[in-house]
């Protein structure tokens, strides 16, 4: 389903939390709303499932104004994940995941099957977890259950409000990776709020940067890091070039820039370092710096020689020439 904010504003007294916000999310895209705290990103997100009603403007889901859809009806078809997870402590994991299907009056057998399927999807063995109580789960496990609960009724839209903000960095990375995997199989329209730029770059198809209730810029991660707007440059930080490199893999770059040259290595001599094609360009740069070389041999995970990666490739990509 498509999603759209059309001149949405929200005022609390004199303060405008969201100011004339307009943005469209195409079907199946993941939009990340990012910005400093108090920038209005959470308020904008909560307008979609009407936990916040805009003071003016409207929100359209598939072209329909959400204020015309009965609120419980709307919410039951939008998955919602929050930072504090908010599992119901008096229900076990299976009952928590089955909450929305129960609201939609599915029958028991169908709910049970769906719960098992979802536990499987989020990587928690159903036999060990479906009877567990929320109080006994770790932060990471709880948020997996939270994601499973949001996906239970197979909603076309998923709203995630800093879902991985409360877990330790290691778990966060695991959850992000798993979430990317889940998303690639489900293809839902997702709005994801975070204040962590790295998370935004890693997950987003499109990143919308907000400040003071206004949309500053919305662009694909690669483009955003090249944006000349002073606020964006400040927000993305001095290491934005490294962030760009971190997004790109050696394999993609080799394919785009240097033709595979079996046998010869060109004129810059024979590189001695090796880099796997599934590594990022940032890792490649680090390896070059470490080895004091300006080029590396790229090899596929199976060990096949794929070509040469040069410092020039990295410079072009970091500056955004040719590819975005």
């Amino acid at each position: 389903m498509t999603l759209e904010w059309r001149n949405a504003s929200k005022a609390y007294g004199k303060k405008r939390a969201v100011n004339d916000f307009s943005l469209e999310v195409p079907k199946g895209e993941l939009l990340v709303l990012v910005g400093p705290s108090g920038c209005g990103k959470t308020t904008s997100l909560r307008m979609i499932n009407r936990l916040v009603d805009p003071s003016s403007g409207k929100i359209l889901v598939d072209g329909r104004d959400v204020s015309e859809i009965p609120v419980t009806e709307l919410r039951r078809h939008i998955g919602y994940v929050i930072q504090q997870v908010g599992l119901f402590p008096h229900m076990n994991v299976a009952e928590n995941i089955g909450a929305v299907p129960r609201l939609l009056k599915w029958n028991k057998v169908k709910i049970q099957a769906r719960v098992r399927e979802l536990l499987d999807l989020v990587g928690l063995p159903a036999d060990d977890y479906s009877e567990a109580w929320p109080a006994h789960l770790s932060g990471g496990e709880a948020q997996r259950v939270g994601v499973a609960r949001a996906l239970a009724a197979d909603p076309p839209i998923l709203l995630m409000d800093e879902p991985f903000g409360a877990v330790d960095p290691l778990t966060r990375e695991v959850l992000q990776r798993e979430f990317l995997r889940i998303r690639s199989t489900l293809k839902k329209t997702v709005v994801f709020v975070t204040h962590d730029l790295d998370e935004a770059i890693r997950l987003g198809d499109c990143i919308a940067v907000m400040n003071g209730g206004r949309l500053v810029a919305a662009a694909a991660p690669g483009e955003l890091l090249l944006n000349a707007n002073p606020f964006i440059r400040d927000f993305t930080g001095e290491d934005r070039a490294l962030r760009r490199l971190a997004r790109l893999s050696v394999g993609d770059t080799i394919g785009q820039t240097t033709p595979i040259a079996p046998g010869g290595y060109g004129d810059s001599g024979t590189p001695t370092g090796l880099i796997r094609t599934d590594a990022t360009l940032k890792e490649a740069l680090s390896l070059m710096l470490e080895a004091g070389e300006s080029s590396l041999n790229a090899v596929s995970p199976s060990g096949r020689h794929m070509g040469k990666l040069t410092m020039e490739n990295l410079l072009e990509n970091a500056a955004g020439i040719g590819v975005s």
């Binding site: 936990l51 419980t72 709307l74 919410r75 929050i82 119901f88 402590p89 076990n92 909450a99 709203l159």
Partner: protein, 392 residues
Amino acid sequence: MRLIERERIDVVPLTAVLLASVSFFGPFAALKENRVVDGQIIRGFELLGGGLGAGVLILGALTLVVALSGGGGKTRNLVYSFAGVACLWITAVLLVRAGALLGQAGEAPRVSPAIGFWGLPGASYVLIDHSRRQAPRWRSLMLTVCALVPVCLIFSDGRGAAISVFQEWLERQDRFLDELIVHVRLFVFAILGATVFGLPLGIIASKNKRIERLVIAFVDVVQTIPSMALFGLLMAPLAALSRAFPLLRSLGLRGIGAAPALIALTLYALLPIARNAIVGIASVPLPALEAGRGMGMSRRQLFWRIKWPLALPYILTGLKTASVQAVGNAAVAALIGAGGLGIMIFQGLGQAAPDLILLGVLPLILMAVLVNRGWELVIRRAVSPGLLGEVL
């Protein structure tokens, strides 16, 4: 020096053994000719013959050794439960023996309880309660039956008739039963009333800070008025109402009797019920509410599926507190003619007859314990196991 290692010594049973020995060697009861005279003190060990006395001593020593030393948890618990059950049996045997010693002199010869009479069952309770901590439920039930059945058998054929409380009971059997029923009725209706008013009051109060302050202030003030004073305060307006409206009078509303007692007891029970409802609903974690709203629960669904079950442990605990309190408070109601077990207590006080006081107090204690246990059972049944670990 292994004996002194902290974790190896069982402190609770040790205390029980100490209590039991004080009770056994100290004064057990007094033989009296009637309810007022001082009587002749008699000690536990004097009542037991050689064989039985030696058995008791050996059992005591065994329990002491087990409590002080290591050994498997199972064996320990077995010894404790046996010792606990035995303590109760010994009490019964001692009572019967004491009764046999009683002469026929006097108008109402009796065995009046002294410290030993209370200490032995006390030790029994502590030992049994301690031993069944980790035991499955059926075993603790069996223990209770084991402890109580022989005792009941001994007394059922009239051999316990010499016990003073029993004598008081014999003298006023019918009256006792009536007052017991009145007492139960008083506190049950008071709790029902307080629940009907207090729960909605608490729930409404939890939605609005201003109402919450009002409710809390009201129930707090009521709680600070001594029960006697509250009865007194209610008498005048109720009497006036009753005079002014004959209809109310015909319904039983008068300045004295059941009406003011019920009203006062209900007001007292309001505090724990309303306050716990407020606290319970305030305890519902906000993220759970946010998640519930976000997934499309209506207000009603949010209340019944999230708020109510999460507040339930607090609400039921409030009901438990209010009930136990009401059992005791209902005794005071006797002073304004509402009847109940309080009658026995106040009569006993008036006549300086401790045995009669006990006739009122013992069933009161038993009732309070039963009510407490009953609510605990309800709480364990009604509250989600997901909450039991944290809240209770």
